[in-house]
């Protein structure tokens, strides 16, 4: 895991001081709200429906046991005893007081954490494949590259007041678990003729105009990564629209100019601006890679304990993944138990998980973009004991990748922008389909729920997407089908008129019935949908 250098410590500490000064100036009137807002957002502080909300960065989703324990402490001391893990691998606290935030930041800094650039019109926390460095089909571990990008993008003097927010994701595998094609920049590590470099995608995003990112570089040399990113950001900072907030993301620019033109502009800038001092040398790269060495050294013949407990076996089947080192497993901790808000964890759960990760997983925990947690390095023989401890915490739900493993935004229960609630919908779904046998029969299926068109719940890329709308004061839910955030990314298609809260579950049932009746053997929902087409589902749903 990455450890702060003296440089990191000083920068984060200094930022804490700076933010304290900004809060003081806001309170005494030196800063107006209009001025303070972008500054507090750049430090992850929102004003939501009921209260302030602080989004704490978890760079590329990686946490230590000490950090998780601190998050639990903060939840108890400054909040209401829980936190919410987000689709960009961060954590949100929903109830902090403005005056407490400087103290929270000081406490976070003690454990090498911060809230820098978790919001605002700047380069956001870089996100990453949650199986980075532990899956066997990977070209190279993307985490060190995320760290290199994190450093470069933090307090970048030129790119801190962009037209709009800017999100970067990196994967090192063919299989995309980081949703890189719905990010402003997606980087995929590839190997060509024995050399490792990057494929670069640009202009993906969701919101009210969703786009799948376009590839603008087939092979970018490692040493040029930062210069190339600077070129993209520089083009965006100069040409991105600032007249209309809904057209300000780079996806709009890419779409207006076209793939060829944007590539040409970026290449030109790259030629013009390339700075030797930004070129990465192999020494620097190696230094960063050294932080990310696997804590496990040897393969073992450690066996998975056999027990007759049905729940344990379901969990093994659903939430446990092979580690690249033999004798070890990767465990997914579902934060989607039936009836609970997706992505939430209580302080006592976080505290216990911190201990568990120390006991079983070398003190490492990861956050997935699908709002679950991961224990990355579990010796197989520990699996039963681990399961028993997770079960006591209510964290052993065997639903990873299944219909109740929904992504869900906070919706109208928390968010000032939302048009409808989303958490209660997710709760309905997870209660309705809670039987494992039911879910297993449906198979892999991603439901993603947003409470407004801004699409924080990723509905556009849900196999079944649900978008909450306000129809004359009543909540109403539009369904999209066929979306995907994987390497074969696609934007879902609207199936037809929206449904009331009461009719939503029956509508999902009907969609599942169409799938059930028409699927081929072993065909998952998305493949069946792609083969059958939207009309078939529409016909059945509205007849």
């Amino acid at each position: 895991m990455y450890k702060y250098t003296e440089q990191d410590k000083k920068i984060v500490k200094n930022r804490t001081k700076e933010f304290k000064f900004q809060v003081e100036r806001r309170i005494n009137g030196d800063l107006t709200e209009e001025e303070f807002k972008p500054l507090r957002l750049m430090n992850g502080l929102y004003l939501q429906l009921h209260a302030y909300m602080l989004r704490v960065a978890i760079p590329y989703g990686e946490l230590s046991d000490i950090q998780l324990n601190k998050l639990a402490e903060i939840a108890d001391k400054y909040d209401k005893g829980y936190g919410h893990f987000t689709t960009r691998q961060n954590i949100q606290f929903n109830w902090p007081k403005l005056l407490d935030v400087p103290d929270i930041l000081s406490e976070l800094a003690e454990v090498e954490m911060h809230a820098i650039q978790t919001s605002g019109n700047c380069i956001r926390n870089v996100s990453c494949d949650h199986l980075a460095g532990i899956n066997s089909e990977e070209v190279e571990d993307p985490r060190p590259w995320c760290e290199i990008i994190r450093k470069w993008s933090t307090f970048h003097p030129e790119f801190s007041f962009l037209p709009r927010k800017f999100k970067i994701a990196v994967t090192g595998s063919e299989k995309d678990r980081a949703a890189i094609k719905v990010h402003d920049i997606g980087l995929k590590i590839v190997k060509k003729l024995g050399t490792i470099g990057f494929e670069v995608f640009v202009g993906g995003g969701q919101g009210r105009s969703p786009y799948v990112a376009k590839k603008i570089n087939d092979f970018l040399e490692k040493k040029d990564l930062l210069n190339y990113l600077e070129a993209i950001l520089s083009v965006y900072n100069e040409l991105g629209r600032r007249d209309n907030i809904y057209k300000a993301r780079i996806k709009i620019l890419v779409n207006e100019l076209g793939q060829e033109k944007i590539k040409e502009l970026v290449d030109e800038k790259f030629e013009e601006l390339s700075d030797k001092s930004l070129e990465l040398n192999q020494n620097e790269i190696n230094n960063i890679f050294n932080f990310f060495k696997l804590p496990i050294e040897k393969k073992t013949n450690s066996k998975v304990p056999i027990h007759s407990d049905k729940e344990y076996n379901h969990w093994l089947q659903q939430n446990v993944i092979n580690h690249k080192i033999r004798g070890h497993s990767i465990v997914v901790i579902s934060l989607k138990p039936p009836g609970k808000p997706p992505g939430d964890a209580t302080s006592s759960q976080m505290r216990e998980l911190s201990k568990i990760s120390k006991d079983f997983s070398y003190g490492e925990i990861r956050v997935t973009h699908e709002q679950n947690l991961i224990l990355p390095h579990i010796l197989n023989s520990n699996l039963y004991e681990l399961w028993s401890r997770l079960k006591k915490l209510g964290l052993s739900t065997p639903n990873f990748g299944l219909i109740t493993d929904t992504i869900c935004c906070p919706g109208l229960d928390y968010c000032a922008l939302a048009t409808a609630r989303s958490i209660p919908i997710s709760q309905k779904i997870s209660n309705h389909f809670k039987e494992y046998s039911v879910q297993e029969k449906i198979g892999d299926l991603k439901i993603k729920i947003s409470g407004c068109i801004n699409a924080c719940g990723h509905h556009h890329v849900g196999n079944i997407g649900i978008l909450g709308l306000d129809k004359n004061g009543e909540e109403s839910y539009q369904i999209t089908l066929g979306g995907s955030a994987t390497e074969k990314a696609s934007i879902g298609q609207i199936v037809g008129p929206s449904f009331s809260t009461e009719n939503l579950i029956p509508a999902i049932e009907r969609i599942l019935k169409t799938y059930e009746e028409n699927k081929k053997k072993n065909e998952d929902f998305l493949s069946a949908f792609n083969r059958l087409g939207i009309d078939k589902f529409k016909e059945d749903l509205y007849k």
Binding site: H50, K340, P341, R421, G473
Partner: protein
């Protein structure tokens, strides 16, 4: 602030700047309790808008707006109802 409002009566609401909590304007001060909130008629909106602006300048509150009330004097919009009553499901803990 008062543009395009529906109905005849309103509450003035905001967030407390220092804590972020939802507050309603209630006879000379701001309170998180709705019971004493001033029911403002359409004719008096301008007066209360001025109060809100002053209190914003004095760094007491942030994001003030008027909550629309329906014919029965109840909060009209779902968003404002949730904002008043709190989240609509039970918390995990």
């Amino acid at each position: 602030m008062a543009k395009k409002l529906k109905g005849e009566y309103f509450y003035l609401t905001a967030n407390d700047l220092k804590t972020g909590s939802v507050v309603y304007y209630s006879k000379n001060n701001w309170s998180s309790d709705l019971t004493n909130a001033v029911k403002i008629s359409r004719d008096n909106l301008a007066i209360y808008e001025q109060i809100a602006q002053n209190h914003e300048k004095e760094c007491l509150i942030v994001s003030p707006f008027f909550v629309e009330l329906d014919e029965g004097g109840e909060i009209r919009k779902m968003r404002d109802k949730i904002r008043e009553k709190g989240i609509t499901f039970k918390l995990n803990n």
